[in-house]
Symmetry: C2
Subunit: 62 residues, 2 copies
């Protein structure tokens, strides 16, 4: 499977906010993430960088 | 490999702008894409949705 893990970066530290992310959708008030188990999560953040081969999605606070 | 293809959507049509995308990085004036062959591309667009399991990155014009 080619899902990725989403990390939230704050003060130089990374925290996993969701593993096995399938869907990422920017919305007006943040980013919607959905994993392969169809769990959804909304986070007030934007994408800093994605590295798909490394399965990494880096998010930072809005 | 878990790279994805990036599609640009305009007037309801999809066009592949880059295959085998590894890195995606939003910048001030668009999105920087880099594929697994380390070719880089800048496009004036933003992410509409990503489906990692389907290897799809959908971009729309800014």
């Amino acid at each position: 499977m080619c899902e990725a893990n989403a990390y939230f970066i704050k003060d130089g530290h990374e925290k996993v906010v969701m593993e096995s992310v399938d869907i990422l959708k920017p919305e007006d008030d943040g980013i919607y993430l959905e994993n392969i188990f169809r769990e959804g999560l909304k986070i007030r953040a934007h994408v800093k960088e994605m590295n798909l081969v490394d399965h990494r999605i880096l998010l930072v606070e809005d």
